[in-house]
Each structure stands twice: as structure tokens, then as C-alpha cells.
């Protein structure tokens, strides 16, 4: 069987296995879920042995007819863009399982259901990045909402049901706009001779500028909600506030990347003319996101929604890089998606452990943790340094690439975006000072430091942050060909240096 398809269905096999385990045996359930996600990880790593590096186009492709009437296929394949995001997914799922070992205990439903939902979600997440058939992509894009809805609504805290519903309705609305655009594309392909949903074939259609604008918006709004981009972001803080840390990691670390991934894969590649029309406006929105998200992060009192707002700022950077339409911007944005996945995972993991110990999500309830839980404090600090893109950690490379790539085409936008690095220092260092420094706050006296399970879950994330900071070459090497291909499809080239050599 095709390794890519195998990676997609392996988590589902885990779900089948879970069905057989009795509800009460939670330990076996957790171990089986972990084993399943590790096998999936191995399978995804094996793809690297078949993958031809430095080559453009989809690889490990596989296609089976699904609805013959409409020429809808189960068609999958990966290029550099999809590969790095799939690896991000398969690496993060086992970490989430180990890191959030006890987070399903207080749910509305059983622990078993929780892990079945996580594994179903993993299949969808890998599948959505692998889909090369636009209709298949749409179906998975919508289907993903279901497990997330139940994960937030059934296992979170506080007003979890309301938060889950808001997430669902918001996403459904975006999805419907995309569905309309997908149908529109299909109609156009029929009129030009051959009805298809194949993304490569669709990119060769001749679409009038006006029509492109409409279809572009259909996709873009769906992706902007998912990403989330200002002003479509208001579902995120509530969801992050209510979800378990593991769910938040998967939602912000991976699921939201489907939005920014879609902007590259569909908005730019299929509608180059419309991209040029809308790019300046989208850049303005991304700049607002960067600065607005940062200020709101500074103003948050709840630890989880604070992290969520830092992500809104970071997604602003990703979108900025994408629509700067330069090779540095696009490669930087793609790398940013990966790095942000790890960096947010670290923040939510350690933040989640802090909340679990203190039994409070309010920043003001912490204070002075550095003295009594040095390992946890250091972990949180490193996660924070990664969020403010400290050189030497991976997020620096991507943030710099995004900014320099933007500067070559839109200098003013880059200058405004660069102020984000001061604001990032503010929201992180204020948080660090309030939670870790100062005298020990009452209520934190007996806080235990990280245990071995937690250290074990976090270690790979920190290794990834450091390794990709010093040696990002392997990732960049994988992403670069995809970037060149997108640039060629969009018929843009990098600006040339102004002063002579």
C-alpha cells in the first residue's frame, strides 16, 4: 500500500483497536492510543525514504475513483509544503497523548471516546494536507470539525459547550463559502472541456479576473476564519480557554495551519490574478493581526487566552509572509507554520501543567515559580523565548525570513510588522515576570516540579526548537521547491536588489 495512504489510515486502525478495549481499562486505552500514534509517526518518517528531495510536484501520489459521476477521487500526494505539515502532525500527536495523560479524566464522556476522537482527528489532519482533490479536501476540512467539536465540548473546562458551538458555527459558515467556490471551480472545468477536482488540473484553467475574485474570496474567508486572521478570530480565545491543553495544541498547532496552508495551496496557486488584487488588503489585515493580537495578549488575565492571542499575532506573521509573494516570505511562512506548532505546543503543555497544579487559569494566581519548580519554570521560559523568536531558536529563522521577504516588496509593511518583535517581548516577559519571578504567591507553596512523563513529553519539542534554530537547512531544503513551484504558478518573481553588485 502507498505509504501516504497507510499513514492516513493507521490512526483509524488504532480507533478500531480501541473499540475492543473495555471502557474501564483506561491505562490500556492510553497505551494503545500512544502506540497507534507512534506507529503513525514511524510510518510518516518512512515516507522520507521514498521522498525525492529537491524535486517539484506531488510525490507518493495515489488516486482511486470515489464518485465517478462528478469525477471525484480519493487522490492524495505530497510536496514539500504538505510533507512538513504532515510531519508536524504526526510528531505532535504522541506528544499530546503523553503530555496530557490525565486530561480526559474529567470529561463528559469516557477516556476511550477522547482517544478515539484524537485518533480520528489525526487521520483527518494528515488527510487534509495530503488531499490533492479539492472536493476531498473540502470534505475532510468540514469533517475535522466534528471530533474537535466533541473534544472541546466534552472535555474542556468552563463554558465548554458554548465555546465548542461557536467554533463549529464559525467554521461551518466558512466551509459553506468554500463549498460554493469548489462547486464554482468544477463548473468552470466542465465548461472548459473536462470536469475535474484535481488541484493541478484546476490550476491550468483559464478563469476570468472577475470570477477569480469571487472564487478567491470563497476560499480565503474560510481559511481566514480557520487561520484565524483579524477580524475573524473571535472564536479562538474562547475555544483555547475551554479546551484541554492537548486539544488546544492540535487546534492551534495543526488545525489552524490548514487555513494558512489552504491560502498557499488554493488561493494563490489557483487564482493568481485575484491574489494580486487582494494581496495589499490581506497584508493590512495581517499587520492588524500582528499588532492587535499582541496588544490583546498583553491585556489578557487568563493564561490560555493569552497564549491564544499570541497565536493570532503569529498567524499575522504567517499570512504576511504568504501574501508578500516572495520566496523568502513563502518559505518563511511555511517554516513558521511548523515552528509555531512546536512553540505553541510547548507553551500549552507547560501552561497546562501549571494550571493543573494550581487549579487556576488566572495569571495573577501564579508567581515566584522559578524558586520552587525550576525545571517547569525553565521549560516555560524557553517556550516563551521561542514565542518571542529569540535567535538560536527555530521561530527566529522563520520570523526573519517572513520579514525580510516582505521588506523586499512592501518595505512599509515590514517596518510595521517589525514592531511586533518589541510587543512579543512585552507579552512574554510580562507573563514570565508575573508567573515565575517575584516573591512566591500564596497557593503555590506545594507545587511539584515536572515529573518524568512530563519531561519526556516536552523534551522532543525543545530539541526541535533548538535544532531547527541552528540547523533549519533540512526543513528549508524540503520547502524551497514547493515555494518555487507556487511562485511560478502565480507568475511572480523575487524583486531584484536595487543597488548594483
Amino acid at each position: 500500500m502507498n505509504l501516504l495512504t497507510l499513514t492516513i489510515i493507521l490512526p483509524l486502525l488504532g480507533v478500531l483497536g480501541l473499540v475492543a478495549v473495555p471502557k474501564e481499562n483506561t491505562k490500556a486505552i492510553k497505551l494503545l492510543a500512544l502506540a497507534s500514534s507512534v506507529v503513525t509517526l514511524i510510518s510518516s518518517l518512512l515516507m522520507l525514504t521514498k521522498y525525492k528531495f529537491g524535486v517539484q510536484g506531488f510525490q507518493l501520489v495515489s488516486s482511486h475513483s470515489w464518485f465517478k459521476v462528478f469525477n471525484i477521487n480519493y487522490a492524495v500526494g505530497i510536496d514539500g509544503l504538505a510533507l512538513v505539515l504532515i510531519l508536524l502532525t504526526t510528531v505532535l500527536v504522541p506528544i499530546v497523548v503523553v503530555g496530557g495523560w490525565n486530561e480526559a479524566e474529567n470529561g463528559r464522556w469516557s477516556v476511550k471516546t477522547f482517544y478515539m476522537l484524537i485518533l480520528i482527528l489525526e487521520t483527518f489532519m494528515v488527510g487534509v494536507f495530503a488531499a490533492t482533490d479539492v472536493f476531498l479536501f473540502y470534505v475532510i476540512f468540514e469533517a475535522m470539525l466534528v471530533p474537535v467539536y466533541f473534544l472541546i465540548g466534552g472535555y474542556g473546562r468552563g463554558e465548554r459547550a458554548a465555546a465548542a458551538l461557536k467554533f463549529l458555527l464559525y467554521s461551518l459558515f466558512g466551509g459553506l463559502l468554500m463549498l460554493a467556490a469548489v462547486i464554482g471551480l468544477f463548473v468552470i472545468s466542465i465548461k472548459q472541456g473536462h470536469g475535474t477536482f484535481d488541484v493541478t488540473a484546476l490550476s491550468h484553467l483559464k478563469i476570468s479576473h472577475n470570477t477569480q475574485d469571487w472564487l478567491f474570496l470563497g476560499f480565503f474567508i474560510a481559511f481566514a476564519i480557520k487561520a484565524p486572521l483579524f477580524p475573524f478570530h473571535t472564536w479562538l480565545p474562547g475555544a483555547a480557554k475551554s479546551a484541554t491543553p492537548g486539544t488546544s495544541i492540535l487546534v492551534l498547532g495543526v488545525l489552524d495551519k490548514v487555513g494558512t496552508y489552504g491560502m498557499i495551496r488554493f488561493c494563490i496557486a489557483l487564482f493568481p490574478e485575484a491574489t494580486k488584487t487582494f494581496a495589499p488588503y490581506i497584508i493590512v489585515l495581517s499587520l492588524i493581526s500582528i499588532i492587535y493580537g499582541a496588544f490583546l495578549a498583553i491585556g489578557q488575565k487568563d493564561l490560555n487566552s493569552l497564549i491564544a492571542f499570541t497565536s493570532i499575532s503569529h498567524f499575522g506573521f504567517i499570512v504576511l509572509g504568504i501574501f508578500a509573494m516572495t520566496s523568502q516570505g513563502l518559505t518563511g511562512a511555511t517554516l513558521y507554520m511548523v515552528n509555531h506548532g512546536f512553540s505553541t505546543a510547548a507553551l500549552f503543555l507547560v501552561g497546562g501543567w501549571m494550571i493543573e497544579r494550581r487549579k487556576s487559569t488566572q495569571v495573577e494566581d501564579f508567581g515566584g515559580l522559578q524558586r520552587i519548580t525550576p525545571v517547569m519554570a525553565w521549560s516555560f521560559f524557553i517556550a516563551g523565548m521561542s514565542a518571542l523568536a529569540l535567535p538560536g531558536l527555530s521561530s527566529f529563522v522563520s520570523e526573519f525570513l517572513v520579514l525580510v521577504g516582505t521588506f523586499t516588496r512592501y518595505p512599509l509593511a515590514a517596518v510595521i510588522g517589525t514592531t511586533g518583535i518589541v510587543l512579543a517581548a512585552l507579552y512574554i516577559l510580562l507573563l514570565v515576570q508575573r508567573t515565575l519571578h517575584g516573591p512566591l504567591q500564596a497557593g503555590n507553596e506545594d507545587t511539584p516540579d515536572l515529573n518524568w512523563r512530563e519531561k519526556f513529553a516536552l523534551a522532543p519539542v525543545i530539541v526541535a526548537l533548538v535544532l531547527l534554530g541552528f540547523y533549519p537547512k533540512p526543513a528549508i531544503h524540503v520547502i524551497n521547491p514547493a515555494t518555487s513551484q507556487i511562485m511560478a504558478a502565480a507568475q511572480v518573481t523575487d524583486p531584484t536588489p536595487l543597488a548594483g553588485k
Binding site: 461557536k166 464559525y170 461551518l172 459553506l176 463559502l177 463549498l179 460554493a180 462547486i183 464554482g184 463548473v187 468552470i188 465548461k191 470570477t211 469571487w214 477580524p231 473571535t234 492587535y292 496588544f295 490583546l296 498583553i298 491585556g299 489578557q300 516572495t326 520566496s327 523568502q328 518559505t331 518563511g332 515566584g368 522559578q370 523565548m385 529569540l390 535567535p391 526573519f400 525570513l401 520579514l403 525580510v404 521577504g405 521588506f407 518595505p411 515590514a414 514592531t419 518583535i421 518589541v422 517581548a425 515576570q433 519571578h437 517575584g438 516573591p439 512566591l440 533549519p472 537547512k473 528549508i476 524551497n480 523575487d494 524583486p495 536588489p497 536595487l498 543597488a499 548594483g500 553588485k501
Partner: protein, 629 residues
């Protein structure tokens, strides 16, 4: 240019040691400080070895590079992780590892009672590694990694006792001010790439000769902003005084001798930018002159011995920045003053630490007095540093500071008189506040309570002080004899010794003028502080009041940045909840009402989905109509 395979050890050794000490944790408590000190000494050894290697080569082969690996390569942007050791960087390598090792030794005793001494040494080693990367990086982007690395080290060390809220806030303030500067460095790099398609020193240098004046001025201004953040220059100076919250050896190493001088390095390294833009040079000298006077004035009113020295550091770096804006020959004098200052100011900070150590961590000079008899070695070594900073011949500052004043006057015209005059005035104020520090601390009657027992520190502490004092005596002469440093740096900054040539002011005249004004300042301080009240008098001149308030820097920043920022944050939080999310909730409410109506037509809990499907089909039909129209 040679290639070398040893440069990486300079950085790898202390970085490795730092990681070991942090990862082993308490297991390394027993030997961590010794290990870190040995590592720092061995980095100094590598530095000396490399210096010898440079000496054995001539011409272009003096400088050496080492490519480590390809770091970032996207489109035109190709950046290697690569190191460059040339005549400029070796000066810093020897200063950082040399003074660094002395301060490691000193800290063994100074931090003896702290249960986190190992962690302190881990941070010190990390600082050494980052600072070496800053001066060895072979491109602006490599430099940037070290640049933020030292910022992190500085943050960690200022906040070393961060369970004290004030210290934690001071650390954060330093990081934020530095980050504002870092925006400058980032933008400079972006402009360089956009203009020249390169971020390496060579690439930018090659491009600079074709660049437009506007681009060069923009790059220069952004580099200056970066330098202002790191080197506590106007208008980003406010963090340095608070940074004295860190343990005193840190103040000596990071906030006097090395990290805060990184801005001078950056401008000197970018000489090809500043040489080509007279506007950028004007900005540089303006910042330098303002800061050298600003720091000196603040220094006159401080009772905290460390804050007085910090104000002095700011002022002395102002001299260096001024020098870098004075054209090619100025760079060499800036570096010379940087090196001599590294000796005498680090020495005086260690002296201050020694005094604090003997006085139960008392920092208020009004509670010192008459310590010379009880701490003779500290008093003498501090005194030698004092003579050096005043510029009394033949001590180190005489050679370096007078050259800057002379070069400033030699700019000619009104500019020369303003710059030279300000530098001369600064020297007088320096003499006043430094004399004040010495008189308050070491001379006069004792003002401390009988409970404290001032005593001379151990040899681990006074040993490094003696070595630095020797540097305060001899370094100026050695660096300037026969134009040694100027000639040595010539390949980097393109300055010939003769170029200071338009001698509008004879060196002798400058020296006599400077000595005269120094004598005035010092004499005034001696007369004024014959008796010292233990509590700072309330009835003082308006100038003293302003100086005590640091020229209102914090009040200004608070009113212009902090208060509006806080208000903006609160406003945006409210906007997000009421306006943006409010609009979303309104839409949700409308849909809810509509679905209530529709619900009556249907049975079943999937009503929301159904409504959505309905809306979806409608929009789908609409789109079909649009694309087929």
C-alpha cells in the same frame, strides 16, 4: 584571507560549559565555578593563540575565516554560519575572554555565599559565548544571533535574584529597551538585503559603494538605533541604571567592559556605511555628545556607588560613539578608549563590589567614608582606575580620551568647537563625579555604623583588581605607542595615522586644556565634599534635583510610552469583546432567531446543520450564477 579551523572553539567551549552546568543542575554545585573559570581561561588561551597566529601572517592573510555550515538559503538570500577573526574582532576576543576570566575568578569569592553560584557561572559562560559570537559572526545575521544572545544573558544576570520583584522588573526593562534597538538592527539587515542582495559584511561593503545616499543614511540610522539600545545611548539609555540590580561582577563585565560597548563595535564594523553617509555621521555624533553629557550629569547626583559608575559608563560610551562619528581615524580612537575603559571601569566596578562585600552589601556612598585605611588594596586599585578615567598622564584614559577630544576639535568650524567643547566639558564633569565617588567612599571620616566591619577582600577578589589596575596604568601607553592600535586596525577601518592630520588643535593644547578643566572639576568636588551628610540634603539646586531624577527619563518614558500603551491595551481588550465579537454575536443571534422560526417546520436536533445546508445551497446557487453569467 586565511581559513582557520579553531575559531569555533572560542564559542563552543563556553557554550558547552554553560549547557553542562545548567543541565547537571545541583550535581555540578561543587565544581561548577571552577570548571566555568577554567573554560573561560582556555577560551582566553585560544584567543592568545589566534592573536599569535595573526601576528605571524602579514597583509590580507592576517584575518581568518571559518565557515561552519550553510544556515539559511532561500532564493537570493544565502547566509552561512561563518566566523571572521580580523584585526578588529581580536581586540574584542582578548578583552572579553581576558577580562571575562578575571571576573570569573573574582566571582568565585564574591558569589561564595550564594547557593546558586553554579547557575551564575553557567550564565557567565553563556554570556562569553554569545559575546564572542557577536564579535566573530561574519555577517550581520550571525552577529544578530550573538547580539540577542548577550541581551538574554544580560536579562538572566540582571534578574539573577529575580525573586526580588524590583530586580525582575529591571531585567525586563533592559530586555525591552534592547529589543527596541534590535528592531533597528533587523531593519538595517532588511534594507541591506533589499539593496545589495547580501547580509554578509563583504557583500554589504561591496554594495555600499553603489548605493544611494538615502539607503546608506537609512541603514546608518537603523544601525545607530541598534547601538543605542545595546550601549545605553540616548534615547534608549534608561535601562542601564536599573541594570545595576545584577550582581556586581556582572556590572563589571557586561554593563561596563563588554556588552554595552557592542554598539561601538557595530558602528566600527559598519565603517563602510558611515564613511559613505555624512548624515548618518551627524546622527552618530549627536547621539554621542548628548549621551556623554547626559551620563556625566546623572553621575553627579547618585549616592548609589554602582549607579554612579553606571552613569559614568553611559557617558564614557558616549565618548566612544562620538569618536565613531568622526571619520576613519575616529574608529581607532573609539576602540582604544573602549579597551582602556574596559580595564579601568571593570576595575572600579570590582572595587565597588569589594567595598560592598566588606560593608554588608551597603551601596549608599553616604554611609561609607574613610575606607582607604581598612581596604588599602581596593582603595589603591580603585584610585588607579580613577586617575585613568580622569585622563591624568600617563594613565590609560589620557591617551584614549584626549585623542577623542582632539579629533572632535579637528572637525573644524562650528561643528568642531561644539563637539570638542562638549567633550571637554564632559571631562570636567567626569572629574567632578568621580572625585565625589572616591572622596565619599575612601576619604574623610567614617559614616558607617559600628555594627559593620569593613575589611579587605580575599586574594581571589583583589588579584583581578590588581591586574585590571595594571591595565589602567599601562594599556593607554601600550596601545598608542608608535600608533600601534591605529596601524593594527588600519586594514579594517582604512584610517592612516596621518589622517588626523588637519591639526587645528595641537595635542599639547588639548591636553593642557583637558587637564585644566579636570583639575577644576576634581577640586570643586574635594571642596564640596569635605563634610558629607549621611542623608542626602533636600535643599539642593534645581540642577541637582533634575540629575537625581535621571533628567526625568523614567517620568518621560512613563508618560509617553507606558501610560498610553496601557490605555491602548485596555481599550483594545474592550473593543475586541464588545465590538468585534459583539458583531459576531449579533449575527449569531439573528441566525438563532431565524432558526427558531424554521424549527417549527422541522423536528430533529440537527436544525443548525440543516439551516447551514440551506444557506450553503443558496450561496452555491448564487456562485453558479456568477460564474456562468
Amino acid at each position: 584571507m586565511r581559513t582557520s579551523s579553531h575559531l569555533v572553539y572560542l564559542i563552543a567551549l563556553p557554550l558547552f560549559s554553560s549547557a553542562i552546568l545548567l543541565l547537571l543542575g545541583r550535581m555540578a554545585d561543587k565544581w561548577g565555578h571552577i570548571f566555568a573559570t577554567l573554560i573561560s581561561a582556555s577560551a582566553f588561551g585560544v584567543g592568545v593563540f589566534e592573536f599569535m597566529a595573526m601576528h605571524s601572517h602579514t597583509g590580507a592573510n592576517r584575518a581568518a575565516t571559518q565557515k561552519l555550515f550553510e544556515w539559511i538559503s532561500v532564493g537570493n538570500l544565502k547566509v552561512d554560519a561563518s566566523l571572521l577573526l580580523d584585526q578588529l574582532s581580536i581586540c574584542f576576543v582578548l578583552l572579553i575572554t581576558g577580562v571575562g576570566t578575571l571576573i570569573h575568578i573574582y566571582s568565585i569569592a564574591y558569589m561564595d555565599h550564594d547557593k546558586d553560584r553554579r547557575r551564575f557561572f553557567a550564565y557567565l559562560n553563556f554570556f562569553i559565548a554569545a559575546m564572542l559570537l557577536l564579535v566573530l559572526g561574519n555577517s550581520y545575521l550571525n552577529l544578530y544571533v550573538g547580539w540577542e544572545g548577550v541581551g538574554l544573558a544580560s536579562y538572566l544576570l540582571i534578574g539573577f535574584w529575580n525573586h526580588n520583584q524590583t530586580y525582575a522588573v529591571a531585567a525586563k526593562k533592559a530586555f525591552i529597551a534592547n529589543r527596541i534597538g534590535d528592531v533597528g538592527l533587523s531593519l538595517a539587515i532588511m534594507i541591506c538585503f533589499t539593496q545589495f542582495g547580501a547580509v554578509s559584511f563583504d557583500g554589504v561593503k561591496a554594495g555600499a559603494s553603489h548605493a544611494s545616499p538615502a539607503a546608506l543614511t537609512a541603514i546608518g540610522a537603523m544601525l545607530l538605533l541598534a547601538a543605542a539600545g545595546k550601549s545605553a545611548q540616548f534615547p534608549l539609555q534608561s535601562w542601564l541604571g536599573d541594570a545595576m540590580a545584577g550582581p556586581t561582577p556582572v556590572s563589571a563585565l557586561i554593563h561596563a567592559a563588554t556588552m554595552v560597548t557592542a554598539g561601538v563595535y557595530l558602528i566600527t564594523r559598519s565603517n563602510f556605511i558611515f564613511d559613505a553617509s555624512s548624515t548618518a555621521r551627524i546622527l552618530v555624533v549627536t547621539v554621542g555628545v548628548i549621551t556623554l553629557l547626559f551620563g556625566a550629569i546623572v553621575g553627579t547626583a547618585k549616592d548609589d556607588i554602582k549607579k554612579a559608575l553606571a552613569a559614568s559608563t553611559m557617558s564614557q560610551i558616549g565618548y566612544m560613539i562620538l569618536a565613531t562619528g568622526l571619520g576613519p581615524v575616529g574608529y581607532a580612537f573609539a576602540i582604544m578608549h573602549l579597551l582602556t575603559h574596559g580595564f579601568f571601569k571593570a576595575g572600579m566596578f570590582l572595587g565597588a563590589g569589594s567595598v560592598m562585600h566588606g560593608m554588608d552589601d551597603e551601596i549608599n556612598m553616604r554611609k561609607y567614608g574613610g575606607l582607604a585605611k581598612l581596604m588599602p588594596i581596593t582603595a589603591v586599585t580603585f584610585g588607579l582606575g580613577y586617575l585613568a578615567i580622569l585622563g591624568v598622564p600617563p594613565f590609560a584614559g589620557f591617551y584614549s580620551k584626549d585623542k577623542i577630544i582632539e579629533t572632535a576639535f579637528n572637525q573644524g568650524g562650528g561643528k568642531g568647537i561644539i563637539l570638542g567643547g562638549a567633550a571637554l566639558l564632559g571631562a570636567g564633569i567626569t572629574a567632578f563625579y568621580m572625585t565625589r565617588v572616591v572622596v565619599l567612599t575612601f576619604a574623610g571620616a567614617k559614616r558607617w555604623k559600628d555594627g559593620s566591619h569593613p575589611h579587605e577582600s580575599s586574594v581571589l577578589m583583589w588579584g583581578p583588581m590588581v591586574v585590571l589596575a595594571i591595565g589602567s596604568i599601562a594599556s593607554g601607553f601600550l596601545l598608542s605607542a608608535g600608533g600601534a592600535l591605529v596601524n593594527w586596525l588600519q586594514p579594517v577601518v582604512n584610517a592612516s595615522h596621518a589622517e588626523g592630520g588637519k591639526e587645528l588643535m595641537k595635542p599639547l593644547v588639548v591636553s593642557v586644556l583637558a587637564l585644566g578643566i579636570v583639575a577644576l572639576g576634581a577640586g570643586y568636588a574635594i571642596i564640596k565634599y569635605r563634610t558629607v551628610p549621611e542623608v542626602a540634603p533636600e535643599k539642593v539646586s534645581i540642577f541637582t534635583k533634575i540629575a537625581r531624577k535621571d533628567l526625568y527619563q523614567d517620568i518621560f518614558n512613563d508618560a509617553v510610552l507606558v501610560k498610553p500603551g496601557t490605555a491602548l491595551t485596555a481599550g483594545l481588550v474592550a473593543t475586541d469583546h464588545h465590538v468585534i465579537d459583539g458583531a459576531v454575536r449579533l449575527v449569531g443571534w439573528v441566525i438563532g432567531e431565524v432558526s427558531d422560526v424554521l424549527r417549527k417546520l422541522q423536528n430533529g436536533y440537527v436544525r443548525s446543520y440543516a439551516l447551514m445546508m440551506f444557506v450553503g445551497v443558496f450561496i452555491g446557487a448564487l456562485i453558479l450564477w456568477v460564474v456562468t453569467a
